[in-house]
């Protein structure tokens, strides 16, 4: 495992202040600095350092899939030969209709699949077509696959920050 980057109290204040979003002004980091009584260049330098460390993946816009017509999704799962899983996983993750892509351990005999890829489309038929496209891409390295559609959200809570009270 990679070591956890150390965040100090000021870093955490910046993350907390921006957790619900950046202020929508032409100079958002200056505004965050005003909130926290920090110079703009310190806000930027700290956010850049956190981005370099991977704590911040990127500062960006999150579209609402449903509003933009991507209403269907399914968790596709694949049993890939172990010696090819890394290379194929990278190809799958780079596809424009895959929103999450992970290697996970199998749980034999209940569960033979080691690659998980969340597929999105306008309809379930479109998701199935993408699954077929993926199956063709993976070819004989794939020994079996399935897709799991969600039928109900049973619980959804925001992630809590580790180390936050």
């Amino acid at each position: 495992m990679t070591p956890v980057p150390t965040l100090d109290a000021t870093d955490r204040r910046i993350l907390k202040a921006t957790a619900s979003g950046l202020p929508l002004t032409p100079h958002p980091f200056e505004e965050v600095g005003r909130w926290l009584v920090l110079p703009e260049n310190e806000v930027i330098a700290r956010m850049q350092a956190m981005q370099d460390d991977g704590v911040i993946r990127r500062v960006a816009l999150a579209p609402n899939h449903y509003a933009l017509g991507l209403s269907a999704n399914g968790m596709s799962v694949w049993d890939l030969a172990d010696d090819q899983a890394d290379a194929l996983g990278a190809q799958v993750g780079a596809l424009p209709f895959v929103s999450h892509c992970y290697l996970r351990p199998r749980a034999l005999p209940d569960w033979p699949y080691n690659l998980f890829a969340m597929l999105h489309g306008a309809t379930q038929d479109e998701v199935e077509a993408k699954r077929a496209e993926l199956a063709a891409l993976l070819g004989t390295a794939c020994r079996g696959h399935d897709i799991l559609y969600s039928t109900r959200i049973l619980k959804k809570t925001g992630m809590r920050f580790a180390g936050e009270g």
Binding site: A60, A67, S71, S150
Partner: protein, 156 residues
């Protein structure tokens, strides 16, 4: 909100902003300058349009995306095969654990999928074992071994 917006809700400039701003913003004094140039509008209009897009529900948020694991947390996807006649009872037991961050019913023999979120990695096994003890059902654990770079973008 799960409804699709009417096709005329967004104009070409809105679509350009949604498409471009899914990629990371530069961390600078004027981070909207490049996209404003591309759209041919002032930076003030870029931020006003982002606010309006949020207002109509075309976007869910605009800001830093955090890697919860890099923040020091531990996470594990888990699944259970819950008999249909016990589903509600088991759901109540599982959801009562504060470590269960979200939980989905899925169409499969393994019909309950949830994520455990803990402060430290060793707490994952504890939480899974407590759920097994309470429900008498096996909790399969699927920790992330590797995450692949994601090219996913929603085309507006």
């Amino acid at each position: 909100m799960r409804a699709t917006l009417p096709p005329d809700a967004l104009d070409a400039t809105d679509r350009l902003l949604i498409n471009r701003l899914q990629d990371g913003l530069p961390l600078t004094h004027d981070p909207f300058a490049p996209v404003a140039r591309a759209a041919g509008i002032p930076e003030t209009e870029v931020v006003d349009r982002i606010a309006a897009l949020r207002e109509i529900g075309a976007i869910t948020r605009f800001g830093p995306f955090l890697d919860a694991e890099a923040m020091g947390g531990a996470f594990c996807l888990c699944a259970m095969a819950v008999p249909a006649d016990r589903f509600d009872e088991v759901m109540t037991l599982v959801n009562a654990h504060p470590e269960v961050a979200h939980n989905y019913e899925r169409r499969h023999k393994l019909n309950m999928w949830f994520v455990l979120a803990c402060e430290r990695p060793e707490e994952i096994a504890d939480a899974a074992q407590r759920i097994e003890g309470q429900t008498g059902l096996k909790v399969l654990r699927f920790p992330k071994l590797k995450e692949f770079f994601i090219g996913f973008r929603v085309e507006a």
